[in-house]
């Protein structure tokens, strides 16, 4: 029997809709205390500022996996060379999060999608109405491909690749979409299962 315990988060308001607002996240398991973190743990955060985040201090309990996770994430989303435009990598992340039901992840990546695309109304419609929302053919093709990769059994097939090519995605862009949607199937599960989102005081 483990002597560890789950945490009861302090009083908070859980968001009940998908939103582009900034949210907090409250852990259900004890993050590492800053004072207990070795150089190895700190290095695993990649960005030193993340030491303030309970999410990353919790994941730092397995530092090598956290560091590899974070470096995978950064290259999929931030590498500017070729491939899918950043806005549409974020769209794939937001659509995946919307389908899985990760309100926290969707909030972060809907904000990025809106910022990089300037299509605030379309991004908000995806949040409000879900993955069947009317967008435009290119965005609907990206959302549909993200859904086909996320839902089980997976249904992603040649018809999705053809539809993406028809709206202008080349092979590198399609590979980016696969990376972005797949990565959020990783991220959503950590965020959803280790704690709970909370609205921020206005």
């Amino acid at each position: 029997m483990s002597t560890d315990k789950t945490l009861t988060p302090p009083p908070h308001t859980e968001p009940v809709v998908f939103t582009r607002d900034m949210l907090d996240w409250l852990p259900w398991l004890e993050p590492m205390a800053e004072a207990d973190m070795t150089e190895h743990h700190i290095k695993s955060l990649v960005d030193a500022a993340r030491v303030k985040s309970p999410y990353f201090r919790l994941l730092a309990r397995d530092p090598d996996v956290l560091e590899a996770r974070t470096r995978t994430d950064k290259d999929i989303f931030y590498n500017p060379e070729a491939g899918l435009p950043r806005a549409e990598r974020e769209l794939a992340a937001a659509a995946t999060s919307r389908l899985n039901g990760c309100i926290y992840c969707a909030s972060v990546h809907a904000r990025f999608a809106a910022t990089y695309s300037k299509r605030v109304d379309d991004v908000q419609r995806l949040l409000d109405e879900g993955v069947e929302a009317k967008l435009d053919e290119r965005w609907e093709a990206i959302v549909a491909a993200s859904v086909a990769l996320t839902a089980l059994p997976m249904t992603f097939g040649k018809e999705h690749v053809e539809r993406l090519r028809a709206v202008g995605l080349d092979d590198a862009a399609i590979a980016d979409l696969i990376g972005a949607a797949s990565f959020f199937n990783w991220a959503n599960r950590l965020m959803l299962s280790l704690g709970v989102p909370a609205t921020q005081a206005k």
């Binding site: 789950t6 009940v16 994941l59 397995d62 590899a68 070729a82 899985n100 040649k158 599960r189």
Partner: protein
């Protein structure tokens, strides 16, 4: 060492997909490093190699992606492999389902089962892996139903907080790796 995703998709050096993956060399390198950190870590800590491979084989079986399924299943001793396969057959379903926080999203609630290991499976797998498999099924098919009590059931079965972080990463990483393998396999078939 061989890159697991390249190997499962069948990406040959010099191929079109090899060049595309090379444009995201950090993601490629660290997806592999994630695999190594989870399955060949310097220190296994509280989660044994067989436990890691059993959970991975269960995740891969639930996804039904044949190449990753075979890859993880073959890493298990025969008896454990048979026990995992029997649970997979009973546990496969459609996802994602689950509840949203009560409110406007409740109309989108898609209730579904909270799955548990069979009695025979429990005898073969033991209480720790049985608890881990129940949690894994939730993570794979209905992650939005996650709650603190599901973590408590892992603690009650003898896993520590550190172990739960590792198991959560393992299931979540597999959810990524399997989709990349599946997606790139489809893309490769069109090149």
């Amino acid at each position: 060492m061989t890159d697991v995703i390249d190997s499962l998709v069948g990406i040959a050096p010099g191929s079109r997909l090899d060049a595309i993956r090379a444009q995201r060399s950090e993601a490629r390198k660290h997806a592999q490093a994630s695999y190594t950190s989870l399955f060949e870590p310097a220190d296994l800590a509280g989660v044994s190699a067989d436990e890691r491979h059993a959970i991975a084989a269960f995740v891969a079986g639930l996804h039904g992606e044949p190449k990753t399924d075979a890859f993880y299943a073959t890493k298990l001793p025969a008896a454990l492999r048979a026990a995992v396969a029997a649970e997979v057959a009973a546990a496969r379903t459609k996802g994602p389902y689950g509840h949203f926080p009560k409110g406007p999203l409740s109309v989108e609630d898609a209730p579904g089962p909270s799955w548990k290991v069979s009695d025979a499976g429990r005898a073969a797998l033991g209480p720790r892996l049985s608890a881990a498999f129940a949690h894994t099924h939730m993570l794979v098919f209905h992650p939005r139903d996650a709650s603190a009590p599901s973590l408590q059931s892992l603690l009650d079965a003898g896993w520590s907080t550190n172990d739960i972080v590792t198991i959560s990463q393992l299931v979540s990483f597999l959810s990524y790796q399997i989709r990349v393998v599946s997606g790139l396999t489809v893309l490769a078939s069109t090149l």
